[in-house]
Each structure stands twice: as structure tokens, then as C-alpha cells.
């Protein structure tokens, strides 16, 4: 017994904590299968009597979730595609080119990390209005095209690439762009994937900014759709709302479960480098 305790003490501590951490998502799942009356009845127990799978189609029919999904894919996809271009070019310039004022400019890039959209949403909102982009998918994309964080991450990775490799490519007559494409990019793939994952998670889940600049179904994203449903139901129909929540959170969670190693490596990687 003593031996068992010594061997497994970590599990005795960690397992209850892990279950505590998992309880909200378990609760969402369980509630999404209950009837409305079971939710408010404290004598009904923790599990539904009969699983109400019909809550799912009911949830999906109250709002155009298909449209939201397409918008989320378009917005997140465009942001990451644009970011990969801007950060690759900028990081290469900072890591390998020599020009006056480099440190100052690099510092200016880092300013963006300190002041994300949450800090400067007000004047950005005014700008988006003046550009006539309100209530369009562009409004959800353009503020995020440049990324100080991505430039920083990739800059660190590029500096690890031995400069002899680049010099050899230059001697072979490669210009900057083809050196970047053929020598640098293949070597920093893990960093690119890490940044892409972090960026996708961030922008897929964005709430405040889309909330401010969209006001019609055609341009709403999944989180906004979910928020609207919550407002409309305002605690009246938790079963439908929890079913919708499962639908909204499952794409990323599913990706996470399938590519767990990759995701974990990415977030760890981002920390050290």
C-alpha cells in the first residue's frame, strides 16, 4: 500500500485537479443533452434521463451557423496567409540585411505586441469607418495583417540559420527572395507552424473586434453568432445554447486532439525561443 502511494502520489493529486479543470466542458456536454426542465430542476441529478440529441439540430436552425463557419474560415485563413507573407519578409530584413535605423525599426515592430487591438480598438474603429469598411469581412482582416509577434518569432529563428548557407546561395546567384524561399523558409518550418497555430487560435476565437465592426448576418463569425444566441436566449434555454457551444468549440478542440503534439510543441516553442 505504502509502495503504491509512493508510486502513484502524483496521480492522487493531479487527477482530481484535472477533473476539476475538465468539469466545465463535461458540464457543457451533459447539459446539451438535457431537457429544459432538467436544467432548472436540482433534484434531476447530473445526467439527463434520455439524451436529447434533437437539441443539436434545434440549436443549428436558430441561426445561420453555416454562414458563420464560412466567414470564420475566410477571415482566419486570410489573416494567417497575409501574416505569413509580411512576417517572413520583415523578419528576413531584420535578421540578414544591414541598414541604418534597424534597431529603432525593430523596436517599432515590438510596439504592436504591447498594444493589441484591445488597447486601441476605439481609434481603429474610427479608421475602419472612415475607410468605409464597416460591416465587411475586410474590417475583420486588415488590422491584423502585420504581426510584431510573428516578426519577432521568425527573426529569432532566421538568426539560427548559419550565414554560410545564405552566402553559398548568394554566390550561386540567388537574390534575396530566392535565398529566403530556398534556404531560409525550409529550415524554419517548425517556427512557421508554431506561429500559424497560435495566430489561428487567436483570430478564430476573436470576440471584441468583430463585435464592434459587424452588424449583419452576412459577415458574422462563429463567436459572434454564439454571443448573439446567448443574448437572445438570456438563460432561458441553456440546452440549445450548450449544444451550439459544443458545435462552435469543437473544430479547434478536434484539431487539438488530433494534432496534440504539434499544438503542444508550438505553444512550448513560442515560449522559449
Amino acid at each position: 500500500m505504502r509502495h503504491m502511494l509512493c508510486k502513484y502520489w502524483q496521480h492522487f493529486v493531479l487527477l482530481p485537479v484535472a477533473l476539476l479543470w475538465l468539469s466545465p466542458v463535461l458540464w457543457i456536454g451533459v447539459t446539451s443533452l438535457k431537457t429544459k426542465s432538467e436544467v432548472f430542476d436540482s433534484a434531476a441529478g447530473w445526467l439527463p434521463d434520455i439524451a436529447q440529441w434533437s437539441n443539436y439540430p434545434a440549436a443549428l436552425s436558430v441561426a445561420p451557423f453555416g454562414r458563420y463557419l464560412i466567414n470564420s474560415v475566410l477571415v482566419t485563413g486570410s489573416i494567417i496567409a497575409a501574416q505569413l507573407v509580411t512576417i517572413t519578409l520583415a523578419a528576413y530584413a531584420f535578421a540578414r540585411l544591414r541598414f541604418p535605423g534597424k534597431n529603432l525599426l525593430f523596436g517599432l515592430f515590438l510596439v504592436q505586441i504591447m498594444f493589441p487591438i484591445y488597447a486601441i480598438f476605439l481609434t481603429n474603429f474610427v479608421t475602419i469607418r472612415e475607410l468605409g469598411l464597416m460591416n465587411s469581412l475586410w474590417a475583420l482582416i486588415v488590422p491584423f495583417v502585420a504581426s510584431g509577434y510573428g516578426t519577432f518569432m521568425l527573426h529569432q529563428a532566421f538568426r539560427q540559420v548559419p550565414s554560410e548557407l545564405a552566402d553559398a546561395a548568394r554566390l550561386d546567384g540567388c537574390g534575396h527572395l530566392s535565398t529566403l524561399w530556398h534556404v531560409y523558409l525550409p529550415l524554419v518550418k517548425p517556427t512557421l507552424v508554431a506561429f500559424a497555430i497560435i495566430s489561428v487560435v487567436t483570430h478564430w476565437n476573436d470576440y471584441m473586434w468583430p463585435l464592434l465592426v459587424t452588424n449583419s448576418e452576412e459577415v458574422r463569425t462563429l463567436p459572434i453568432g454564439l454571443g448573439l444566441l446567448a443574448k437572445a436566449d438570456s438563460g432561458a434555454d441553456w440546452t440549445r445554447l450548450m449544444a451550439a457551444t459544443i458545435v462552435v468549440v469543437s473544430p479547434l478542440l478536434l484539431f487539438f486532439v488530433i494534432f496534440q503534439r504539434r499544438f503542444v510543441d508550438s505553444f512550448m516553442h513560442a515560449g522559449i525561443k
Partner: protein
């Protein structure tokens, strides 16, 4: 007078071309908004109105006398200064617990990390349900344990702690993962030596682990400061700043002034106060922890 040799100047055209795409967007959506927010704060600007009047320091005078501003400032500081240390301590303990060859590692890691992947709006909404005074499971659990039921988000003194508790659940897993990566680089023989000398586990944590991972801890604190902005989403979804402004924070107060009262000028003054708060916080962290980290790191 700086001197540039030929080498330094040759790359300028290429560098300009490569930095331009980023700089255009940074200028438009980061630098210009910051400068403009300073300019707005000295003027009377109404949302949707083309007329702008110069006010001088009037918005700032109003700010200093505005008790609601000070309240939301205090709430922002309270949230930031409690959530970050608490979730990092939590993350550190979890990371230390997982820093062995443990069966079920993937399960534990996922269990603690998955809240990071959930949209803030979904997380906030679910916790509204969990905290519900009548039928919420948290009160159900507290009643079962013989503890008093609480009104949570409807109670002035419990609403902010409730949001902080939720934030710890949401972010601790992220910090844990970063810390775990750092822990794995700590040489094992240091612990062996400490154990042979009879050093207790707590002292090992305080005198070996924490100093050796201090650069990562510092990084995690900075990440924590930047994530604390997200409180807007939780306040918007869970409390709308209530009850009685007990959870009103600067970002939400900016939102209220700009979009409910249409007063962009005053909202900009509040926004600048937030920018100053963040700059001061990061400067203090860099001056205190940043230095120590460097010293210990060497």
C-alpha cells in the same frame, strides 16, 4: 554624426521593399491610432459627427474627477495584479507536478490546456451558467459541502473574484505548457545533489527550479499582462460591468463612453490612461524582474 560604410547602404532598397508591407499596416492600425487617440483626447469628438472642438486639458480634468473612471481603473489593476500571479503559481505547481515521466501525460496536458482553445465568449457564457445562483452546479456543489450559497456574478463583492477564478482556469494551462518546456531543460543532477543533501522539495522549488527558469517566468508574466486585456470579453458577456460597476474595467469603460455615450474625445482620454497603465506596468516589470532575471540567468 553616424557613419555608414558602403556595405550598410547597399541593402537599403531590399530592406525597404521587405519592410514596407508590414510598416504600411502597422502605421495604419497601430501607430496612427495611438497618435490619434492622443489628439482626440484634447478635443470634443462625437461619434459620427464631423465637428471637432479643441478642449485642451478639459477631458483629463474630467477624468481625474470621475469616480467611475477611478473605480474601473482600480478594478483593472485588481484583476491584472491578482489574475497573473495566481494563474502563474497555479501553472508552476501543475508544471512541476507534470515534470516527470508520468503515465497519462498527454491526458493531463490536454485537460489543463484545452480552455486556451475555447473562445472567450463561450467560456464566459458557460461560467455564467456554472455560477448561476439558483440552478448552477457551483452553488449545488457548495450546498452539498455545507457551504453557504453565493450570488456570484450578482454580488458586488464576489463578481470580480468570480471572473478572476474563471480566468485562472482559462490561462493557467497556457502558462503551464511554457513553464513545462523550461523545466525540462533544468539539469536533473541538480535535484539529485539537492536530495542527497537533504534539501526539502519546497526549498528545491524555491532555490533551484525558480531561479533556473526565471527568464521563462518573466516571459510568462509579460504574456500574462498582454492576455489580461481580454477581460473585456468576459465583462461584456458575463456582467456588462455590473453589479453597480463592480466589474467595470478600463476597456469596458472606454467602450461605454464611445459607443453608448458617443463621446470619442473622453473615451480617448480613458484609453490613454489604459496605455499609460500598461506602459508603467511593463516598465516596472522590466526594471525589477527583468534585471534580476538577467543577473540570475548568467
Amino acid at each position: 554624426m553616424p557613419r555608414f560604410d558602403h556595405e550598410d547602404l547597399r541593402d537599403i532598397p531590399a530592406a525597404a521593399m521587405m519592410l514596407l508591407p508590414s510598416l504600411v499596416f502597422l502605421a495604419l492600425f497601430t501607430y496612427w491610432p495611438i497618435l490619434r487617440s492622443v489628439w482626440f483626447s484634447f478635443h470634443d469628438v462625437m461619434l459620427g459627427s464631423p465637428e471637432i472642438f479643441f478642449l485642451g486639458l478639459e477631458n483629463y480634468a474630467r477624468l481625474l474627477a470621475d469616480s467611475l473612471f477611478w473605480k474601473s481603473f482600480g478594478n483593472t489593476a485588481l484583476y491584472t495584479l491578482l489574475t497573473i500571479p495566481l494563474s502563474i503559481i497555479c501553472a508552476l505547481l501543475l508544471a512541476v507536478g507534470l515534470d516527470t515521466r508520468l503515465r497519462g501525460m498527454a491526458f493531463y496536458r490536454s485537460a489543463f490546456f484545452y480552455p486556451v482553445m475555447i473562445p472567450s465568449v463561450a467560456a464566459g457564457m458557460v461560467w455564467v451558467f456554472l455560477y448561476a445562483p439558483g440552478y448552477g452546479p457551483i452553488n449545488g456543489l457548495m450546498a452539498a459541502l455545507g457551504l453557504p450559497r453565493l450570488e456570484w456574478l450578482y454580488d458586488r463583492s464576489w463578481a470580480m473574484p468570480a471572473i478572476i477564478l474563471m480566468s485562472i482556469w482559462k490561462y493557467a494551462g497556457y502558462f503551464m505548457l511554457i513553464l513545462l518546456a523550461a523545466l525540462q531543460l533544468v539539469p536533473r543532477d541538480l535535484y539529485e545533489a539537492a536530495r542527497l543533501d537533504g534539501v526539502s522539495a519546497t526549498r528545491q522549488l524555491l532555490h533551484i527550479t525558480i531561479p533556473l527558469i526565471s527568464p521563462t517566468l518573466y516571459f510568462v508574466i509579460i504574456i500574462g499582462v498582454l492576455h489580461s486585456y481580454q477581460i473585456f470579453d468576459y465583462v461584456y458577456v458575463m456582467t456588462q460591468g455590473g453589479p453597480a460597476d463592480a466589474t467595470n474595467v478600463l476597456t469596458f469603460y472606454i467602450y461605454q463612453n464611445a459607443f453608448q455615450f458617443q463621446d470619442i474625445g473622453y473615451a480617448s482620454a480613458v484609453a490613454n490612461a489604459l496605455l499609460l497603465f500598461i506602459i508603467a506596468l511593463i516598465a516596472i516589470l522590466a526594471a525589477t524582474l527583468g534585471r534580476r532575471v538577467h543577473y540570475l540567468g548568467n
